[in-house]
């Protein structure tokens, strides 16, 4: 195996995910299959190749630093309506600081 369940568990923690022992075994198996497959990229010599992040080269467009999207009260309400828990204009979360 190219990767152990413990390493996959560590990745899951980084990704803010959790898995049962059974799921972890299956995921480790899938990691192994996929990582073995993508290893074929190692066949290519790429030392002098530039990486591509975006296929179409665009520079970050800039605009004047002014507010362009002041929401109406109705828009603010529509945005906040999706909050799982809120109090007036705040999102409620479990206590962070003792």
């Amino acid at each position: 195996m190219r990767i152990t369940p413990d390493e996959v568990r560590q990745v899951a923690t980084l990704a803010r995910l959790s898995f049962s022992a059974e799921e972890l075994d299956e995921l480790t198996q899938h990691f192994d299959t996929i990582l073995t497959y993508v290893d074929k990229l190692g066949e290519l010599q790429t030392d002098s190749v530039e990486p591509t992040a975006h296929a179409v080269a665009v520079s970050a467009p800039l605009r004047d630093d002014v507010v362009t999207n002041t929401p109406s009260a109705a828009q603010t309400d529509a945005l906040l309506a999706n909050a799982p828990s809120r109090k007036t204009y705040f999102f409620r979360v479990p206590k962070i600081i003792e």
Binding site: V11, A15, R16, F31, L41, L44, P51, V56, N82, K95
Partner: protein, 486 residues
């Protein structure tokens, strides 16, 4: 012919001559949805009331005598990753099951301005991750040609709604083949535009350097009509390209005389379903008989495309999906002690297994110690793949290939092994990596009556060439007149 079976251009004609009203057309489509969608599961949300109100507004515009906007009264479906204000938008995920879009995506806004009637939101793989639609957190959508088979993914609902006459046309998104594969499996026309041609504002992100919105339609002319409406620069999407948009309908009938069609040897591989190869070769021969010239070409890095794609797409997905944390919107796990547990439990419960797999793998390839070996390596190979296409387009104007090595497979057939599923996209994925436009056009049926798709790939921003070639082919064939047995 029933109203619901009309193409955009046919419906437009009948609406303008008042042979049919927009309300009648919407009612016909909604009735069809009620009658058949129990078996197909293409819609996740039907907006009957809003659609009828939009249709009434369209009828008023049609009645006042002025030239109506291009999609006035046309019933359209939206993939459920595309936001429509006030309408539930789940992206096929439990984590967004209750999410009501607070604004319109730019493409939705453009459809509305063009007078379209939005029938509803259609099924897809969760967060557009999948090739079969089986990763929908709700229920898999079925192929109308054989309901034991998949419609292809991830825009399965978009393709099915069009193929089964549950919408005149639909929008999908394509990150690695997610419009073209279901279009081929369901026997409709699907286009992935050049990266940057269509705005992604208000579209739920999967892999931002690859995602693109595009049309799913009953024929090539409809595809051009829809692209005319959605294409163009949008300041709200910083990757949207600011260059003029041609009229895609204006030159459809120009023909293919003198057009150079490249045939890449790497796309006709062993293990392909023989009927697929035969149908695609016959389609190419037909274009040749119409005056096109066939040029053998090579895309030498084709075999590396799937590996490159999955590293890049998973890395981008892991970053994009970090936002689903149960704090500001979406599902939140209950009875958790602290914020860390809130994030972890919310995500563990809210995401499906394929999404979690891709987030985990994406996190891995971006993590310290593996970044260079996987992510940077894949970005470099992406350069080689793109260069292959740019070199090939020195010798040809378009490239013709199959959309997929097989016709639609059975539900469950590829679920156990993610890698086998990923390989369904072997012929579509490189197009996204290179940012090119790709068109899927029906080119026949196999012995089981399942549709086969021809893929036409073009240089950046040359959608017009693909539509012209697709149209020329389509005019001489009647595949589109065949309807699924429902």
């Amino acid at each position: 012919m029933s109203h619901h079976a009309l193409t955009i251009h046919q419906a437009r004609q009948k609406l303008r001559t008042r042979e049919v009203s927009a309300v009648e057309l919407a009612q016909s489509v909604l009735a069809r949805v009620r009658q058949t969608d129990e078996r197909l599961h293409s819609y996740l949300t039907v907006c009957a009331e809003e659609a009828l109100a939009q249709a009434e507004a369209a009828d008023r515009m049609l009645a006042n005598g002025a030239t109506p906007p291009p999609l006035c009264g046309i019933p359209v479906a939206l993939k459920d990753v595309i936001l429509a204000q006030g309408v539930r938008s789940t992206a096929g995920s439990k984590i967004l099951e209750q999410f009501i879009a607070p604004y319109d995506a730019t493409v939705t806004q453009r459809l509305k301005e063009a007078g379209a009637v939005i029938i509803g939101k259609v099924n897809c793989d969760e967060f557009a991750m999948g090739s079969s639609n089986e990763n929908s957190a709700f229920t898999p959508c079925r192929n109308p040609w054989d309901t034991d088979r998949v419609p292809g993914g991830s825009s399965g609902g978009s393709a099915v709604s069009v193929a089964a006459d549950l919408a005149c046309a639909a929008l999908g998104t394509d990150t690695g083949g997610s419009i073209r594969l279901p279009a081929a499996f369901c026997g409709i026309v699907g286009l992935k535009p050049t990266y940057g041609r269509v705005s992604r504002f208000g579209v739920v992100a999967y892999a931002s350097s690859l995602d693109q919105v595009g049309p799913c339609t009953k024929d090539v002319r409809d595809c051009a009509i829809l692209l005319d409406v959605i294409a163009g620069h949008d300041p709200r999407d910083s990757t949207s390209v600011n260059r003029p948009t041609p009229s895609y309908t204006a030159h459809l009938e120009r023909g293919v005389s003198g057009l150079r069609i490249g045939i890449p040897q790497e796309y006709f591989i062993e293990g392909m379903q023989p009927e697929v190869e035969t149908a695609v070769r016959e389609a190419i021969a037909h274009l040749q008989s119409l005056g096109a010239e066939v040029v053998p070409i090579s895309l030498p890095h084709t075999e590396y495309a799937v590996a490159t794609y999955y590293i890049i797409a998973m890395a981008e997905a892991s970053s994009n999906l970090a936002r689903y944390d149960g704090v500001r919107y979406g599902y939140r796990a209950s009875e958790v002690e602290d914020l860390g547990a809130l994030y972890q439990t919310t995500r563990a419960q809210g995401f499906g297994s394929e999404v979690k797999r891709r987030i985990a793998l994406g996190t891995y390839v971006l993590s310290a110690g593996y970044y260079d070996a996987y992510y940077l390596k894949a970005q470099k190979v992406r350069t080689l793949i793109r260069q292959d296409f740019l070199n090939a387009f020195e010798a040809c104007d378009t490239i013709a290939t199959p959309v997929a090595p097989t016709t639609a497979f059975r539900l469950g057939e590829k679920l156990a092994d993610p890698l086998t599923m990923y390989l369904s996209d072997i012929f579509t994925i490189a197009v996204n990596l290179a940012g090119l436009p790709g068109l899927s056009v029906p080119c026949g049926f196999d012995q089981h009556g399942l549709p086969i798709g021809l893929q036409l790939i073009g240089p950046p921003f040359e959608e017009e060439v693909l539509l012209r070639a697709g149209y020329a082919y389509e005019q001489d064939h009647d595949w589109r007149t065949r309807k699924p047995p429902l």
